[in-house]
Amino acid sequence: MAANEKPGKARRGVFPTILDETYAVPMTQPFWDAAKEDRLVAPRCMTCGTFRLPPAPFCWVCQAQEVDWVELPGTGTVYTYTVVRHPLHPDLAEVVPYVSGLIELDGTQGAGARMLANIIDCDPEQIRIGTRVRIMFDHVNEEMSTPRFRPLDGESGS
């Protein structure tokens, strides 16, 4: 558990940052640089336009290496999710139930850019496949800004 996540600081529904270092390399650094500024960027293949999340050294469509980093709107749609109710670790007793979901990101034309994240500030019983969400970043330290999503009010359900 990260040093900043002291016992007692747990917040229901918010999965704690258990890795507070990014171990960034040039392939991943732009994501974390943008996250620090509350911006979501994703690497897109220069040759065929396929997004690669998590960042990857080669494109799975055309095997090219080079990417440009594209800023995305930060909104998306829940593709699938689970409500975790059983605390797998004692530190999670104060956290469950929490929602983890797979988010299809707007602005990627379905081209392979999904993100996996904790969905917070929601009633877990109201989350559905199709719920609209927006990203936020929890600035844990100089290095790590943990991405999470929140439902967009008035747009949930499908």
Partner: protein, 401 residues
């Protein structure tokens, strides 16, 4: 050239199955060796005959086993990559080694003791290593930061995702998952000598159980257990002269589409048309082609059931039910012993009998084809065994009498 009908499973051995941690003070090595010795005795062979190992899921080191048992010479020692998805495919690996002339008597086994650790739980005193991508002592991967903090820290979480998506697309219901659990439990109840869970399970029990990770409740999860199972494979012509009726390896296949990829805890760009599946579709196609049979020819199916919804998806991917109709298919009673069109997990499966990472399914298939299973399917000629859904590769095996 294929491995079709070239080899046979001739011996099966197992320790008792124990609840998690209760095999102590035996060790995993001791249980592996005990299961192997029982399998050799079953076949009418001895340690002196053994010259190969074909394993899966980071199987217990054959170097230790060979030294402990005094195997005269090891000529083949290999395993399928990744985890439990390779259980059925390990037998295909054994068959390939024998057919290629690299070994003559190949042992496949799994030994498991969950003391101080829980597969699919958290590492003792900390979060699971896989969340940090540091299995095997490697440096932390720069990709770990993309998955460590998302809250998905156990296999149940990822399979909950697939189940949720299947429910959304096809209208699959928790009642359907319950039927898989109840059918397995009914089978386990008739074999208390091996099954760890033999209490009746009702629909009310199911719906009153605590939720673990929606839509999965306690009963949708595998039993947690200890024990070891070993099987012996030799060439078909040699098999005829041994102690037991051979269970011929009709076909085996493993793999999957590349973008099925690693565990969904670390990888989440599986194509849309394959996401709510067991990952087995391409493997099933190759398996049936190698065997030259159709799903209707299968008499009993031993499907890897770490999580009940994955049984439903495998019934679809192996052609017993159309894609998306696995739920209503089980609700119609098709997987029940005696009355169903394709009895599934007649031993009780991982859900009710025991979890030795797929090897109990291989054992049951062999017993069905010998005609000695507790829940015997009348006249069973062909048995299907699967390994996974899991990270790539998933695998399967067809055995015939």
């Amino acid at each position: 050239m294929t491995i079709r009908d070239k080899t046979a499973i001739v011996g099966v051995g197992a320790t008792p199955y124990y609840r998690r941690g209760e095999s102590y003070p035996q060790t995993e090595l001791e249980m592996a060796c005990r299961a192997i010795l029982l399998a050799l005795e079953d076949a009418g062979l001895t340690v002196a005959d053994v010259d190969g190992f074909a394993l899966f899921a980071y199987g217990y080191d054959p170097a230790q086993v060979a030294a402990t048992l005094g195997v005269p010479e090891v000529r083949f020692s290999a395993q399928l990559t990744s985890g439990g998805g390779g259980s059925a495919g390990a037998l295909g690996l054994a068959a390939a080694a024998i057919e290629a002339g690299m070994a003559t008597c190949v042992v496949s086994y799994m030994t498991l003791q969950q003391r101080g650790r829980r597969i699919g739980g958290t590492a003792k005193g900390g979060f699971p290593e896989h969340a940090l991508g540091s299995y095997g002592g490697h440096a932390v991967s720069p990709l770990a930061a993309f998955t460590a903090n998302d809250g998905l820290i156990a296999p149940g979480h990822q399979f909950a995702w697939l189940a949720q998506r299947h429910m959304h697309l096809y209208g699959t219901k928790r009642e359907h998952f319950a039927e898989v659990c109840i059918a397995s439990r009914e089978n386990a109840r008739r074999r208390p000598e091996t099954a760890l869970h033999t209490k009746p399970l009702t629909l009310d029990d199911y719906f009153n159980a605590r939720m673990i990770s929606d839509p999965l409740c306690l009963f949708d999860y595998t039993v947690e257990s200890d024990g070891a199972v070993a099987v012996i494979t030799v060439a078909a012509d040699r098999a005829k002269d041994l102690r037991q009726p051979p269970a011929y390896i009709l076909a085996s296949a493993h793999g999957g589409n590349g973008r099925w990829g690693p565990s969904h805890l670390q990888w989440f760009q599986t194509p849309d048309d394959e996401f709510a599946s067991s990952g087995h579709r391409p493997v099933a196609k190759r398996l049936y082609e190698m065997a030259g049979i159709a799903p209707a020819d299968v008499d009993v199916a031993l499907l890897y059931d770490h999580f009940s919804p994955m049984v439903i998806m495998q019934l679809e991917d192996y052609g017993f039910a159309p894609i998306g109709e696995g739920g209503p298919f089980v609700a119609d009673g098709h997987i029940r012993w005696k009355t169903g069109s394709i009895p599934v997990n007649t031993h009780g499966g991982h859900l009710s009998e025991a979890y030795i990472i797929g090897m109990t399914h291989v054992r049951e298939a062999v017993e069905q084809l010998r005609g000695v299973a507790v829940n015997q399917v009348d006249g069973a000629e062909i048995a299907l065994v699967t390994g996974g859904p899991a990270a790539l590769p998933v695998s399967s095996l067809l055995l015939r009498r």
